[in-house]
């Protein structure tokens, strides 16, 4: 367990270092080290600490948040295909953000609208799935999938009626865009708090993965735990979506890859998801802004292009 997390921490540090070093001007490793230990000033310092670090940290936090949210949703719904995006959370967030953009709002308002949209989608799915009876995982999943389709239609409608000059900004938001993320600290704090809050519950989650009846028979208070997990996963997704837009695949693929390699102990999977999800998004963002520099690619495309083959390879060689 310690070894796996050390390796992942090492990867995360390397990815962040790479992300800080490359770009329009390359910062040599020696220079980067001097900046880190505070022995540098001038251009390299401004470049690394003021321009690149916020973006790198934002990408890391968002990737970690999405991966943890995915891991939690998969245990909650006992469905390996569950993902906050499948449940329409990102659809709600995107609808909120696009509405704000249509109204000509600034970056802050767009973020706020995305957050509100994600929370609204969460409550909508939960309320509808509850219905007149009690909710079951399959009911929650189906409700989520159907509302996600509804959000998709709303998004397409808005894109269709939007004036052409506003379209690129919207499309970039929909595919995920880290370049607007300037305030990494809220996301980082949410990430650290979420991991710390979930670790004591991780063993209960292991038991919950065996089904609610088995979990109850082993002493888990199933309903409160399920509520807590659902609300937390929604909050994490909303935070991530608010800072970097809608980025798919991270929440689905990262926990899966880790389960194939490390097994399904949530005490390892949750912190490992935070590290691996963050690493993946930092690498993807680094690629997105360097491959065809000075132009930038949408980072969601890169996560999919990196994630899909890796995932298929791991699935192929798994037991």
């Amino acid at each position: 367990m310690i070894r796996a997390l050390s390796v992942l921490t090492g990867c995360a540090v390397l990815a962040c270092g790479l992300s800080l070093a490359v770009g329009s001007v390359t910062v040599a490793p020696v220079e980067l080290w001097q900046v880190v230990v505070g022995q540098s000033d001038g251009l390299a310092r401004t470049l690394v600490l003021d321009l690149r670090l916020p973006r790198t940290l934002s990408a890391f936090a968002a990737g970690g948040l999405l991966a943890i949210a995915g891991a939690l949703m998969q245990v909650l719904l006992r469905n390996p295909l569950a993902d906050p995006y499948v449940l329409g959370l990102s659809g709600g967030a995107a609808t909120g953000a696009l509405l704000a953009m249509l109204a000509g709002a600034g970056v802050v308002l767009v973020s706020g609208a995305a957050f509100a949209g994600a929370l609204f989608a969460t409550l909508l799915v939960f309320g509808l799935a509850h219905g007149t009876g009690s909710w079951t995982p399959s009911r929650l999943l189906l409700t989520g999938v159907v509302t996600a389709a509804g959000w998709g239609a709303a998004i397409t409608l808005m894109l269709a009626v939007t004036p052409a000059h506003q379209l690129p900004g919207m499309l970039y938001w929909l595919m995920g865009d880290v370049s607007y993320a300037r305030l990494p600290w809220p996301s980082m704090v949410v990430l650290v708090v979420a991991v710390a809050a979930m670790l004591p519950l991780a063993r209960s989650l292991n038991v919950l993965a065996r089904g609610p009846l088995q979990a109850a028979a082993l002493g888990v208070s199933v309903r409160p735990l399920e509520w807590a997990v659902y609300l937390l996963a929604s909050l994490l997704t909303a935070t991530a979506v608010t800072s970097v837009g809608s980025i798919g695949f991270v929440g689905l693929i990262v926990p899966h890859m880790l389960r194939l390699v490390l097994g399904n102990d949530q005490r390892i999977i949750l912190p490992a998801s935070a590290l691996a999800g963050g690493t993946l998004l930092v690498l993807a963002d680094t690629l997105a802004r360097t491959v065809i520099a000075p132009e930038q690619l949408p980072v969601g495309v890169i996560t999919a292009l990196l994630g899909v083959p890796t995932f298929l390879y791991l699935l192929h060689r798994s037991r």
Partner: protein, 256 residues
């Protein structure tokens, strides 16, 4: 030493009104067998006794405490059950599966210690599946999975054991092995309560029997009194032959 008792208990079967109110005391050292045709409510009864399903009427008590008044974790240290159906959505190894039996005994921040692993391994050994420890559950046969589920309950080590058809999928040798194990547990003052379809296992190993009829009627008592051919023929709607060999009673379906 824990006594599980049902007071004036009517289980909640959808679409069935009425039914006998059960007044049972399941005491340490006893082995109860619940017999009845498909759909009579054996599983529902088991889940109600475990506090997983609210009854239509009456209470279930552990010693003098109502189940609904107990925190689930406290309850799980005293009462455990083996389900008939299990969800294996995620891959897990046999040893990990047995180890989740320790969950109610560990606090939030504790992880499994060497002692917990030793208990799980001993349980797997007792069920003859210790050599499968690192195998994934979904690669096992039905009977092997059944034995792992019983090993999980053994690792949990509660005072009251509820088992839903524990001999399902097991070959003859392992059926006997499991019944011997349960009988040994009852001698160590565990109370055992299980649903069964095999009259011969019930006749040989159970101290008490509860007959559950499809219309909700029920009768219960010691095995010698309850397990008679007439009652069983009425219960299953099936003619039976009863044989005696040494001290063993055997039942077989008659060919009309």
């Amino acid at each position: 030493m824990t006594v599980l008792s049902a007071r004036d208990l009517v289980i909640d079967i959808p679409g069935r009104s009425g039914g006998a109110a059960l007044g049972l005391e399941i005491k340490p050292g006893q082995i109860w067998g619940v017999l009845g045709p498909n759909g009579a409510g054996k599983t529902t009864l088991l889940h109600t006794l475990a506090g997983l399903k609210p009854p239509r009427q009456g209470q279930v008590q552990l010693d003098t405490l109502d189940l609904t008044a107990m925190p689930r974790r406290t309850l799980a240290r005293k009462l455990g059950l083996v389900f008939q159906e299990r969800q294996d959505s995620f891959p897990a190894t046999v040893l990990e599966t047995a180890l989740i039996g320790r969950h109610p005994w560990l606090s939030l921040w504790q992880s499994e210690q060497a002692e917990d692993i030793r208990r799980a391994e001993a349980a797997l050994e007792a069920l003859d599946v210790s050599d499968l420890g690192t195998r994934l559950l979904n690669t096992l046969s039905g009977g092997e999975r059944q034995r792992v589920a019983i090993a999980t309950l053994m690792t949990q080590n509660p005072d009251v054991w509820l088992l839903d058809e524990p001999t399902n999928h097991l070959d003859l040798h392992h059926q006997v092995q499991v019944m011997r194990l349960l009988s040994a547990c009852s001698r160590r003052n565990k109370a055992i309560f299980m649903c069964l379809h095999d009259l011969n296992l019930a006749a040989r190993w159970c101290s008490h029997v509860l007959l559950l009829y499809p219309d909700g009627q029920a009768c219960w008592g010691s095995t010698e009194v309850m397990l008679v051919r007439d009652a069983l023929e009425g219960l299953y709607g099936q003619k039976l032959i009863e044989l005696h060999k040494d001290d063993i009673r055997l039942f077989a379906p008659a060919s009309d």
